[in-house]
Symmetry: C2
Subunit: 578 residues, 2 copies
């Protein structure tokens, strides 16, 4: 492709609203253009990246036996009313009335439509299992769209739905999709982790997320570098402590700690390690108070805590409630001599502690040398209610966990019979009996991958595309294309040879100054650049560079005889094996 | 592809609402499935056809230098307010409010968005010309969606928009697009006509439609079999009559014609040819009456007639107005002795007539032997106000016109400066002056092509796909696939060989009865069928048929050594040269 026949437009500045580096770079490199809040046009060079992702996703989905189809974007309300999601989905759903005042929505997802198709078209177990997928534009009316296509309202998604005669078959397909997704993200050249999104238990869990690892990710992921364990921080399990609690060595002492309420400051004031302090949190659920105990260096995991209660909800007690129940302000509360109507819930790592520090339930005082059994009863309710920290053991005990940040780009889910039940979707089983479908659903955020890939692959000059995603794999920068016939001829020859070999090549024939050209090509992030200029040609040389050090360069023995074959071979190799 | 790994579902009956054969067959063959009024899912086999069309369209657009991009489906109202189409577009536009009560629409077309992009991204004449296109889902809220995907609300469209520094460049691109569209529809294997959609003039016209010819088409097209002239009936020009009017040979006579008002019946009653009768129509425009004269066998072309008036509108006079102005009921009015406030507008073919019959302006009477100049003044206003009929000369005089029916599947249009003007879209020209863009737009109804192709290519057994559109080009029907290892082996061998050669092949391994299998494959319309059964294999034979007589069959010299190469070569040839 010649730049003069393509549409390249870069920008020096990103709009001030762009916070994320991917958002800035996508605007600056001309991949996207904003139309409105959360609405972006994919400009030609951006669309090329989308198409590369789509092609790999499609190829792997087809290989896994899924069948492509295409459902309408506009969906009638009645299906959503049947599944009880018309109201439940909330304001993220873009509701629409047509000219006859009938209710529709711009489909944020397609469980309802596909279940409606399945219940009409799949009558017998003989037609199962079947997995349909589509690549389609979706809309979710985010309250505050931002980060460019990372959290846009209109976006491109691959959504797949599988139907099964029984749960065993569903689990089999789920595992196959886990492998397929892993292959997809590997082929895309991304550093990713599959994350248990449900219970945190290894194995037969019902939901996994796929995260591209990047410092800017919204989610924190705990993973084990030795096993394949990985979980969202919210759900990552702390393994039960293995150490035995040590016997008391200190006496219980009430010490003055005036105007010192945070664990950090108490540790400093008293000269004790943070992990010797017990943090107490008073919460209310169903108008009953509970006191949560955590180690001073740990943080409460609200998801885990909420699961302790039938309502799955709690709130922190107000200052007034704390004073009325505990007799002192928040920073001085503790577990010793608490009123009997307050249930004590103790994190499992606190149970191990001895000679610890906690609030004295008296303003301006803490207790030191506190010990269970001796100074307060042995805890009855011992739970995992904290966030894991780096160094905690993997639940299987294979190695200490690490933390990183990730961007969710895929999600697989065992829906089981939820939708079939609500929407009355049956088939006839082997014994002639009406049976509800078991369903799985599998999503990939196609447009979001572009942003995630950039978050993971950029430097201060711009994007550094992984080869499989690059809009062009090779750029030919020319100096004097329209002035020097030899430059033009050499450039065109190399361009044509690369193109014939199946390499996506961009020949920059814009006659820009080399500086402008190079910084544009760096910004756009094309992995290889071949520079052809009058002067180097006279020296019998053609210059080849890779965009980043980690992209291996082809050794060129004789630069004038550019080994185009070698380049092609290498690029195609990387693309195929990524 | 093995049928057991694909999703084939045919239906014996079409829904009663399906009127058109394409609608019936698409439902029955399982190409589409209705979700709601004017909303269809593309089932796997239907989507394959869509993808084939998209690939050909994309290939030809790219070859013509157009650049693919992708704009949002959801568009903010303010752009449409600027172009003054927010209200003007009417209720076909699906208007939407988001959670913040801001106005949007589901884009029925994208002139506004692309003009907005161009005015920001294209600053200089150096970046012109440029042609962007996209393949995208659109929505038009038809008041009465019907005919399946022929007139659905949600549909897939290729829409392209070109920008130019001057009108000359626009015309050049327009002509290139005319050629590109012709190549696209030729490659799709369709019988089509490009039709002048604007003035009917040959040459520098600003708009052409592309119609697939089919008896069920909504539009009537007049075309010349010898030249490339073709126009919508509404716009087809009648060439000026070449014959001289003959001198009067009869006297003016008033004859009784009681209760005989239609031209047909008058001709019968008086024993004169229909073309000797003059039909008179009283119309009102701007509250002024006009009497239109047409030959008895001709029909009024309301589009042409309306263009005679500044308001571009007229209405037929009511019975009361006719009686009050002409003194008699509608069936008896005529041009002789009309009140001076009524303007006479005479079709050019009437001017040639002599000794003709017309109403006597007296109930129950007509005049015979009527002649201009002698019995009424020579007409002053002579116009082309009738529909062409088969046999009329092509405007260039090369051959008599023929009429046929067509389905509009493409439209190219010179927008010129309309949108640039309304939306303030400028670039800097060679002289450093701000100049408005010249624009062209170019649409293809991707999903509609599927229906149009079926209207043109079907028989009483089902669809007969042109090879370039066929979801599969070859079907292998097996009898006893899962019982006879030799059948299975032969079928798999042929399947794999064809697939490797790049042929889309469907191996029907469903173990259905041959009758069911054959009628399914006929309904789906796969061009070639290879049948492999125990009995024929024993006889050393493999059976090959083409779906329709006009699809050429490969001669097989030795049927056991099926010449797969030959089949492949032929199919790929047809596909490439269609």
């Amino acid at each position: 492709m010649l730049a003069s026949q393509f549409f390249l437009r870069t920008h020096r500045e990103a709009p001030s609203e762009a916070e994320l580096v991917s958002h800035k770079l996508m605007i600056r490199a001309g991949l996207i253009k904003k139309l409105g809040s959360g609405l972006y046009s994919w400009m030609p060079i951006g669309l090329r990246v989308i198409r590369k992702i789509e092609a790999i996703v499609r190829d792997e989905m087809n290989k896994a036996g899924a069948i492509e189809m295409l459902m309408p974007a506009i969906q009638p309300a009645d299906l959503w009313q049947k599944s009880e999601r018309w109201e439940k989905f909330g304001p993220q759903m873009l509701k629409i009335q047509d000219r006859h005042n009938r209710d529709y929505c711009f489909g944020p997802t397609h469980e309802e439509v596909i279940t409606d198709i399945a219940r009409q078209e799949i009558r017998s177990y003989k037609h199962l299992p079947v997995h349909f997928y589509q690549i389609q534009t979706k809309f979710r009316d985010e309250i505050r769209p931002r980060f460019g296509v990372m959290r846009s309202r209109e976006f491109i998604m691959k959504d797949g739905y599988s139907f099964h005669a029984n749960e065993g078959d569903l689990v089999k397909e789920y595992k196959k999709m886990h492998q397929t997704y892993s292959r997809i993200f590997t082929r895309l050249g991304l550093n990713f982790r599959s994350v248990d999104a449900d219970t945190g238990a290894i194995g037969g869990s019902g939901s996994h997320e796929f995260h591209v690892l990047a410092d800017s990710g919204e989610d924190t992921i705990a993973y084990c570098p030795k096993s394949d364990y990985a979980a969202n921080l919210e759900l990552a399990q702390c393994s039960a402590p293995s150490k035995k609690r040590q016997s008391p060595t200190k006496n219980l002492v009430k010490v003055p700690t005036p105007e010192t309420t945070s664990c950090d400051k108490i540790a400093q004031l008293l000269g004790v390690p943070l992990e010797n302090i017990v943090k107490s949190l008073l919460i209310i659920t169903d108008s009953k108070p509970h006191l949560l105990l955590l180690r001073g260096d740990h943080t409460l995991n609200e998801t885990k805590a909420s699961k302790l209660f039938a309502t799955r909800k709690f709130r922190f007690a107000s200052q007034e409630e704390i004073t009325s129940l505990m007799g002192c302000p928040a920073g001085y509360i503790g577990p010793v001599n608490i009123p009997s109507n307050i249930e004590l819930i103790v994190d499992q790592s606190v149970v191990q502690m001895s000679d610890y520090v906690c609030g004295a339930n008296e303003e301006g005082f803490h207790l030191t040398g506190v010990n269970f059994y001796r100074d307060l009863p042995e805890p009855l309710t011992i739970k995992d209610i904290r966030n894991v920290v780096e160094g905690d053991m993997d639940p299987s005990g294979s190695a200490p966990l690490k933390l990183c940040r990730g961007i969710e780009v895929g999600h697989i889910f065992q829906l089981k019979k939820t939708y079939a039940d609500k929407m009355n979707a049956h088939f006839v089983d082997k014994n002639g009996k009406q049976e509800l479908f078991n369903m799985g659903c599998y999503g990939i955020g196609i447009s979001r991958i572009v942003a995630a890939a950039i978050e993971q692959n950029h430097d201060d000059r711009g994007i550094v595309w992984p080869i499989p995603l690059a809009p062009f794999q090779v750029a030919i920068a020319t100096i004097g294309f329209n002035k020097n016939p030899e430059v033009k001829q050499t450039a065109m020859d190399i361009h044509n040879e690369l193109e014939q070999a199946g390499i996506d090549v961009l020949l920059d024939d814009r006659d820009e100054r080399p500086g402008v050209m190079f910084s544009d090509l760096d910004l756009i992030g094309i992995p290889y650049r071949i520079t052809i200029g009058e002067r180097t040609l006279q020296d019998g040389k053609v210059d080849m560079q890779s965009r980043a050090d980690h992209i291996p360069l082809v050794p060129l023995e004789n630069e004038m005889q550019l080994k185009v074959n070698q380049i092609c071979e290498q690029i195609l190799n990387i693309e195929n094996n990524a």
